[in-house]
C-alpha cells in the first residue's frame, strides 16, 4: 500500500460529506496566491481560504517564471482575479543550494544538463521583491496595482510583509 492509496481513502471521506457542488468557476475573492510548494506552508489554513475563494499557484520557491506568468495571465484575463499574494518562507530548500551545483550534479548523474534555471536564491526578501518586479514587468498580466509579497515564518506561523 502506497501513501497515495492512503490519501485516496481520505478523498473518499471528503466526497461523502461534500456540499460545495454549486460553486462557480471564477474565484469568489478575486485573488491569486502564488506560494512555495513547501509542505509546511498551508495557504488554506494560513489565509483562511475556503473552496471557491482563490486561485492557488505553487512551485519550488514560489518563484515567478514563464509558467507562473502564464497562470497569472489566465487567472486575471479569463477568470477575473485582481489581487496577487506572493508567499516565500523561512527555512526554504531553495536557500540550500546553487543552480550551478544542482545542475552539475544532475549532469554528472544523467549525462544531461537541465535546460531550465533551478531558481535557487540566497536572500528571501530580495527574491520576493524579484518576484514582484517580474510580475510588474510582464506585458501580459494586466492588473498589477495589488501585488504584495510576504515571508511565512515556518517557526512561528507568522506572515511578514516584504516592503517592495
Amino acid at each position: 500500500m502506497t501513501v497515495t492509496d492512503e490519501l485516496l481513502a481520505n478523498a473518499e471521506r471528503y466526497a461523502q460529506t461534500f456540499d460545495k457542488g454549486h460553486l462557480p468557476l471564477p474565484p469568489a475573492r478575486g485573488v491569486a496566491v502564488l506560494a512555495c510548494m513547501d509542505a509546511r506552508l498551508n495557504p488554506y489554513g494560513l489565509l483562511g481560504l475556503q473552496e471557491g475563494d482563490a486561485h492557488v499557484i505553487r512551485n519550488a520557491g514560489g518563484v515567478v517564471t514563464a509558467g507562473e506568468r502564464r497562470s497569472l495571465a489566465i487567472s486575471q484575463r479569463l477568470l477575473g482575479t485582481r489581487e496577487i499574494i506572493l508567499i516565500h518562507h523561512t527555512d526554504c530548500g531553495m536557500l540550500t543550494f546553487t543552480d550551478d551545483d544542482f545542475k552539475s550534479k544532475i549532469q554528472a548523474e544523467t549525462g544531461i544538463k537541465p535546460d531550465w534555471s533551478a531558481e535557487a536564491f540566497a536572500d528571501l526578501d530580495e527574491d520576493v521583491r524579484q518576484s514582484i518586479r517580474r510580475i510588474d514587468a510582464d506585458p501580459f498580466i494586466p492588473y498589477t496595482d495589488h501585488v504584495r509579497g510576504f515571508v511565512y515564518e515556518v517557526e512561528t506561523g507568522r506572515l511578514r510583509e516584504v516592503v517592495a
Copy 2:
C-alpha cells in the same frame, strides 16, 4: 480595504494558535501533489493533508511544463519525495479556450504575442495521461514508478483515477 487585507487578518489568527514550528523541511509523507490552481479544488481538504505532509505544486490546468519538471526534480532529488499525484478537474477553465485564440487576443490588445504555450486542452483524461507521459519522459525526475493521475469532480467532490 483589499481582499488581501482581509486574508491577512486570517493569517494573524492562524499564527495565534500555531503549534507546528517543529516540522522538518522534507515532506513527511514523501508525496508531491501537482494540481490545477482552480479555486474549488482544495488539496488539503480533499486528500486530508496536514502541514508538513506533502509538496503541493499548482498551475493553470495542473499541466506539466518545464517549471513543474523543475519543481518535481527538486522535490525528489533534494527533499526525498517518491510518489506523484496529478489532479485535473471537471469544469476546468482550460477546456474553454484554445491557445491560438487566447494568444491572438493578447496580441491584439498588447501588440505582443506571448512566448509561452497557454497549455489549453480539449480532453481532460487525455491531458492527465499527457502529464504522466511528460513526467515519464523527463530525464531529471528519478522516481516515476508511483505516478498516478486523477480527475476531481467539482460537482460531486469525488476523485476519479485516470487509467494511464
